[in-house]
């Protein structure tokens, strides 16, 4: 198919979809195609994001690394101190305790739920059927002022306070260009339990042939959100094991 005819097809889809004859699969395919193609996504082995958030005048630099093999880390730096959050070395999930500045392991339930996401590197929808996920097209809704396809994605059941619950996510794909612009997920724990968490994505820009959102926000729907700016994205970054490893000095007899 020539680029031109493909282009016309996209336009036609955008028009006919207001009657929504479109299936969830067609939208997901168009999304993958539009951001650069699923083959390119699958070829990535790791990603490093340099982010910043602003809190009360203070700009916090954040570095996130995620690897295809599941290892990942988030590092926040202030006053020259490095705070590690959600670090996974292939076995242990750990974070820095802010009071002692020492590594502490996450609880077992958090670890098990975290592991469920290891097969979602880069994108929930890559090979979603193979992962046992289901998708459902729920229709067109207005979100962020613009019309979007609402797709329900159910992933592996997760454990919340000892109970198995469905991991349900509602993705909103911009009707004009098929990229996700918002995700809703019910908050499952804590004081906001039962409310709808909302993430939004925008400022899509190209990195090595793939489009990534360079601006995100996270919050609870209708309750305000924290903007997150992506300063840079590096694909297939160089990493060393010690960036992820739970420090030996903190290991106890009970857990290696």
């Amino acid at each position: 198919m020539s680029y031109f005819s493909k282009f016309i097809t996209l336009i036609a889809l955008a028009i006919t979809l207001s009657n929504y004859g479109q299936t969830a699969d067609e939208i997901i395919d168009a999304y993958h195609e539009n951001i650069g193609g699923i083959d390119k996504l699958k070829a990535i082995n790791g990603i490093k994001l340099t982010l910043k958030i602003n809190q009360g005048g203070m700009e916090l630099p954040i570095e996130v690394i995620e690897l295809k093999d599941g290892r990942q880390m988030t590092k926040i730096t202030f006053q020259g101190q490095e705070i590690m959050q959600g670090v996974y070395d292939g076995t242990t999930l750990w974070s820095t305790n802010f009071m002692t500045m020492q590594a502490e392991k996450s609880d077992a339930e958090a670890l098990e739920n975290f592991k469920l996401g290891l097969n979602d590197f880069m994108d929930d929808f890559i090979d979603y059927k193979d992962k046992g996920y289901t998708v459902e097209m729920l229709g067109v809704e207005t979100i962020d002022g613009t019309e979007a396809y609402k797709i329900k994605l159910i992933k592996e059941p997760m454990t919340v306070e000892g109970q198995l619950v469905d991991d349900v996510n509602f993705y909103y794909f911009d009707k004009d260009n098929y990229v996700p612009i918002a995700v809703h997920t019910e908050v499952k724990e804590g004081p906001a339990k039962g409310m709808m968490a909302e993430s939004t994505m925008s400022d899509y820009q190209e990195v090595d042939g793939i489009y990534f959102p360079f601006s995100m926000s996270q919050g609870v729907k209708d309750q305000g959100a924290q903007p997150v700016t992506v300063v840079s994205i590096e694909l297939n970054p160089e990493v060393t094991d010690d960036m992820f490893t739970f420090p030996d000095s903190m290991k106890t007899d009970g857990g290696k």
Partner: protein
Amino acid sequence: MKTLKLILTLLILPFLGQSQDLAVNNGKALFGDLTARHIGPALMSGRINDLTLHPTNSLIVYAGTAGGGVWKSSDGGVVFQPIFDDYCQSIGAVTLDPNDPDNTIYVGTGETWTRNSVSIGDGLYKSTDGGVNWNKIGFEKSDRIASIIVNPKNSNEIYVGVLGALWGDSSERGVYKSMDGGQSWEQLLYVDQRTGCADLAMDPNDPNVLYASMWAFRRTGWSFESGGSTSAFYKSTDGGKNWNKIHNGFPSGDLGRLGIAIAPSNPKVLYTVIEAKEPSKKGLYRSEDGGQSWNQLNNDFGITVRPFYFSRIVVDPRDENVVVKGGLSGSISRDGGKTFKNLGNMHSDIHDIAFHIKDSNIMYVGTDGGVYRSMNGGVTMEIVENLPLSQFYHISLDNATPYNVYGGLQDNGSWYGPSSSPGGIEAKDWHSVGQGDGFRVLKHATKPIIYSEMQGAENIWRIDTENSLIKTVQPLPADEKAKLRYNWNTPIAMSPTKPDRFYVGSQFLHRSEDMGDSWEIISPDLTTNDPSKQNQEDSGGLSMDNSGAENHTTIFTIAESPLNDQVIWVGTDDGNVQVTRNGGKTWTNTVANVPDLPANTWTYHIEASVFDAGTAYVVFDGHTQNDMTAYIYKTTDYGASWKSIVTDHIKGFARNIQEDLVNPNLLFLGTEFGLFITMNGGETWLKFTNNMPSVAVHFIDLHPRTNDLVMGTHGRGVIIIDDISPLRDLTPEILNKNVHLFDIKPTVINEKSDFGGNFGTETQFVGANPSRDVQIKYYLSKRHTFGKMSIEIQDASGNKVGEVGPGKKKGINIVTWDYRLKPPKVAKGKTITFGGFTSPKAAPGSYKMVMTKGSDTFEQSFDLILDDKLPMQPSDYKERDRVSQLLFDMSESLAYMVYQLDAMIDHESGNKSSKILNSMNALKETLVITTGDNYVGAAEPQLREKIATLFSKIATSYDKPSANDMENFDRLNKLMKEATSSFEPLKKKFKSYDQLELKDKASFLDTTN
């Protein structure tokens, strides 16, 4: 190439879109970040219609509320979250599919305890994902749904008991059945146009055995009738195909409302509570044989009181002899219904009770004042504190800072509370100013006086809030000419121009010029004075019910023109629209000039225009005549002609309209299903849905200083949309611009304490505060999804002082800048220093917002200003900022010194023979903390901590530095000088300094960490 494709798509697609104009926009594509803010209160909560428990997970509790939607608790009823905000908020029944209780939920709308102030429903809804998404599956005209039952052995088999229309004839009533999960319905039991299904039950062991109670009932604006020959108790043994009356043992003659309960532990045992003509035959009946015969057990007051309001009976699932009955206080029997005692102390008017699925000591009770929990079988009751279901009839505002909101509630008195409060608006921020059913509450414009009205002017309190003094000022009859007729929701009003003037409406308009101490009647009877609508002592049907709530042929709304105090508008509940142009000397009834309006439609609200004395809006409410149409009219000639401004965009009958104070085409309309806004004088209306439930909006006010739109809702408390002024600018021309910047209002730098309560609020509803930050507002014609977009703040000289994450929505975006500058860079130590996180406030002055969107740049200037109500002088703030800046610089100089020193130490650390290393380490230990942790293991503070602490102390103060602060500052200055004089010689001595490849100070300070 994919890039090219995408860019092409992006370039071309916008041309396919429609141009923006007010006629085609939907509200969600326009209102953007304008978001409703809920302030409750929840301390008195509101009426509950139905409680439902999950059959296997004891932590899940649902509350179907009379006017506030459906709420779900996942922690056994400690806190609840709303799950039905986008739909009708008046709930009759909530039912879980027993075969799929985690996912499949049915909600029948339209409350069923049919008091005068009930709302209406609009059908049956189903969710198959635990309440996240909902579909309406029928019964659009059902008005109110009493019961939904799913066969525990077949999810597709559903029975629905439809009570039906309260205010008129309807054939959409009775018992219905679906065999396909709700896709299609068959009416199984129907009696007539005024008899509906009040209760429905299924034998838990045999789904073919059903019991239904049919009830003849009707309300008008002036009467209520319960009971008739068609009321009956039916049984079916074949899944609803055939029904037989089972009245063996019942009283003879007409019956009223009947409740039904089956004992789950022994389904042969049934209870019913019977409303009958003969008092001795009313009350609780029990059957031991599945309804073949009945015995009367009890006719105490608690069992027979107000059957239309209280007929719920609930049997303990584990004990057929423990039975609870709703009522004024709620009654519990432990001897099979022979004797009862009251439930524990809680809000009166008990509508539903639910026993915990495993432990009968744990009970949930739904009342006119929210949900209560009991851990000891109903002896002690504790209220759920986070259900803001308050049912306001009316609200008003004052001009305090922050302004207060005043209003009265169904069965919950009258209150006022602040629109913001440190830490959020808590229960303790609300003040009680009336009892009983509260209605209109008004604050005197200049004096510390509040007027508060209760139940048909039984009391109109005048409260001196300064001295806590109370008197009543309701007009009493001065002669025998006529009995005064006051509406249950008696109108009281103040003059917009004369602060001591006060109006009250009976059938006459009463005016006082001295705050209610003396009264003058300034009108004839302005109503139809129809005697057929004045027989309230006969109201109630089988059970007399003359509470005063049905008083009719009364004045309902009063409005003096803000432009001419001789022009007064009066609307009556029987449909008159009266106006005087000479202060009451002569009156003209203009309702005959209103086109296409059914006779005697209730004149609910008249809004006298702020732009022109001859202009007014009138809202009529026909729902008490079973007419759910919205009626809104405008006159520009004192009522000589009226023009409808209703369009099909409006859903629900309307009760209130608010005119904007600046743009005459901007109007806000409250209907039974939410808030609607027009920006073109009523040609098109947009529903406002941003955090705004589809709740009945009974009254709207607009604050003239803040431009906040404040709504009194009947089920979700007070809801505010902060500063609606961007809507004033949204002309079609502006909507067609890609980007439009709204003016940024001068922002007062907030120096006030933010110590909030926050004690004991863990499970309490706390109302959100408005933002006090700089509000940057702009309109985007299209969502920004691709390419860069950023906002930075610059000072008057063009220096960047901050960054703001921009909003990307199509429509109105609101982002805030908290006018905090970056904190100083602090020296790196073993631990952090909390003082170093202090971000100083920007100085007052002019600033500029610079938005970069793709290759375009947009700029907007704004001012930060000092709070001139505070006692400090500008020179105080200047001195504070000057000293703060010195400490800021000191901290950064120290940071750079430690940066160099660390590099030097690092370089030498491998060198055991280094002589200089010890000196360098010794110096460092005086500069920063090198041991300990961030909590109780903290080490002795060093210079870094001392500087940061004083910096924080001064920068966060409202005041100039004290003499002691300056002594401490001098000391630190000296220590810093000493440190410098220790460091510089070391640096000189350190031969390899140039090899360290250190950043210069400016670039070191420029890095963010």
